[in-house]
């Protein structure tokens, strides 16, 4: 900004003509701002809603930086070592996938008694090891991160519902996609990707759901469904068997030593090296340092919603 474009007197906003030169439209300032507030998600969502220019800057730059900050390990794995590049479906879709449980509605192969609305999730754990369980045997070469299921109690008479989501690396070049195209699997008529809005394939209809998926989730015998969209986003739901079952959910040899899962003030997601394989899982946490941050009070399930 040149000196000519700046004024030094206190001016009431309504006295000034509308300006394209507000500092908030300056990329350098936006980067400093968001770095300082540790990439607060709500502030970025609001910023991206203000005008076209800010939305464009957010899509090109800010959402990417947020994803890298919140999940450095997973983003590095997904972007194939080129984190400055693009990602299928956009970085804003990936950020939403990291922090939003998509809820669940009845679909052709999976019926629920009532629809669950989507909701913001404070912290989620994504795992490559988990993802392997969701790949059909012939597609095991693909790299897929899947989250732990978000548990939704459905009442005394029903099992809990587990809602999960995930993302493929380089879906366009994946064996899963090649298989779907070879089998000429049609898109699902009604369902759309909750993260990028595109068409999806039902993996149940495509017969690409391995037995290991239900075991991994702690679900009963094949009571699950998941969808994959053209950008490689995955979302699905399952019925969770009550935990008195003998089957354990975690694989032998995979230790979750990240003790920060429940610390909502953690402002940086950590990662661990397990079995010599860097980043087999990544916990993404939304810790805000803004003054109106998300605090959970009294240990109860209460979240702050600020005037929108």
């Amino acid at each position: 900004m040149s000196a000519a474009q700046r004024r030094r007197v206190n001016v009431h906003p309504s006295d000034e003509p509308e300006s394209d030169y507000s500092g908030i439209l300056n990329e350098g300032i936006l980067l400093l701002l968001f770095e300082s507030i540790k990439w607060d998600l709500q502030v970025l969502c609001l910023t991206a809603s203000v005008n076209r220019k800010l939305r464009a800057i957010a899509k090109r730059l800010l959402w990417r930086k947020l994803c890298v900050f919140r999940a450095p390990c997973m983003v590095a794995a997904l972007a194939n070592g080129a984190p400055n590049g693009r990602i299928g479906g956009g970085w804003d879709a990936l950020a939403k996938l990291m922090f939003f449980c998509s809820g669940c509605e009845s679909t052709r192969h999976f019926i629920v008694s009532r629809a669950i609305p989507g909701h913001f999730t404070q912290a989620s754990r994504f795992s490559k090891t988990s993802g392997r369980s969701f790949l059909a045997k012939k597609c095991r070469g693909d790299l897929l991160f899947v989250s732990d299921p978000c548990e939704h109690p459905m009442g005394d008479k029903e099992d809990d519902l587990g809602i999960f989501r995930g993302v493929f690396r380089g879906f366009m070049r994946s064996k899963t996609r090649a298989c779907l195209l070879r089998r000429q699997v049609p898109f699902d008529e009604r369902v759309r990707c909750p993260y990028c809005g595109t068409r999806v394939w039902s993996m149940t209809a495509a017969r690409l759901v391995p037995k290991s998926a239900a075991r991994r989730l702690g679900s009963g015998d094949r009571r699950l469904e998941y969808f994959v969209c053209v950008n490689g986003h995955l979302h699905g739901a399952c019925w969770l068997v009550p935990l008195s079952s003998d089957e354990e959910v975690c694989d032998v040899g995979e230790e979750d030593v990240d003790g920060d899962d429940d610390d909502v003030n953690e402002d940086h997601a950590g990662y661990d090296e397990v079995d010599g394989d860097a980043c087999s899982h990544q916990t993404v946490t939304n810790g805000s340092t803004s003054s109106l941050g998300e605090d959970v009070l009294g240990g109860g399930p209460i979240d702050l919603l600020l005037n929108l």
């Binding site: 509308e18 300032i29 609001l46 803004s290 003054s291 702050l304 919603l305």
Partner: protein, 246 residues
């Protein structure tokens, strides 16, 4: 060296020269580095900072150095107040301070100024943010609605609870919240949950007067009245008026 009266000279982009105590100047990590690694007697050029901005920044550094060194009798609360007043400037100055604090590497000032801008955004609606920053709304109505839907996910909370926080419950407090949920609203004051109400129960009444039993004897008894009105698709504004009886 180590004398507290060591002075450092700084020259700004508009050729103004400032002579300041070393302890103040080295609050800037940039100046500190140049001073310790260059010739300590010559003038340090701060190319990208103007005289006005540097003057303000030096005020900040002096206040904080004096406070930390005990030279000024100022409590943490008073320093906090001073900081809050320090950033009550026009926006252009505020943005210049952000850039200068970054350039000079003064972390506490950078955080203070960035937090100030963040507070102009967080908790506000897009139209309020546009007004604050004088930004033209270049969306059509349909496009704006689409963008709103695109970005609302970070605000959709589990259980559909809308929450309003009141920092302090004075004898007579009024507070307003806009919630995008249709199920419950929870009011928290002084870190205690004061009440939780089902919005559907509020829906049929223009205002209600309810006494809440305090959870412990030290909590004031609160009488509240609530008015609500629709403010657009999916949003309800609730206007609370609390009266406390100790």
């Amino acid at each position: 060296m180590g004398s507290t009266s060591t002075k450092i000279k700084l020259r700004t982009s508009d050729q103004k020269v400032f002579e300041v105590e070393k302890a103040v100047a080295v609050q800037s990590q940039t100046i500190k580095y140049i001073y310790e690694n260059g010739c300590p007697d010559s003038v340090i050029h701060v190319h990208s900072v103007s005289g006005d901005i540097l003057s303000k920044i030096l005020d900040y550094c002096k206040k904080h150095v004096n406070s930390a060194a005990g030279k000024e009798d100022i409590s943490p609360e008073e320093l906090y107040e001073w900081d809050a007043n320090f950033v009550k400037v026009d926006q252009n100055t505020l943005f210049d301070l952000i850039l200068a604090a970054n350039c000079l590497k003064i972390e506490s000032l950078l955080d203070l100024t960035c937090q100030t801008v963040a507070n102009m955004i967080k908790g506000k609606r897009p139209e309020e943010i546009r007004t604050t920053f004088n930004i033209k709304n270049d969306y059509t109505i349909e496009a704006e609605e689409a963008v709103r839907r695109e970005n609302k996910w970070a605000f959709d909370m589990l259980g559909g609870v809308g929450t309003m926080v009141i920092e302090e419950l004075a004898d007579d407090t009024m507070s307003k919240c806009v919630t995008n949920t249709k199920s419950r609203v929870c009011v928290i004051a002084a870190n205690q949950i004061v009440m939780m109400r089902s919005i559907s129960k509020l829906a049929n009444k223009k205002s209600i007067d309810v006494y809440k039993q305090p959870q412990n004897p030290t909590t004031p008894r609160i009488k509240e009245s609530v008015k609500q009105r629709n403010v657009g698709t999916g949003f309800i504004e609730l206007f609370f008026h609390f009266k406390c009886k100790m």
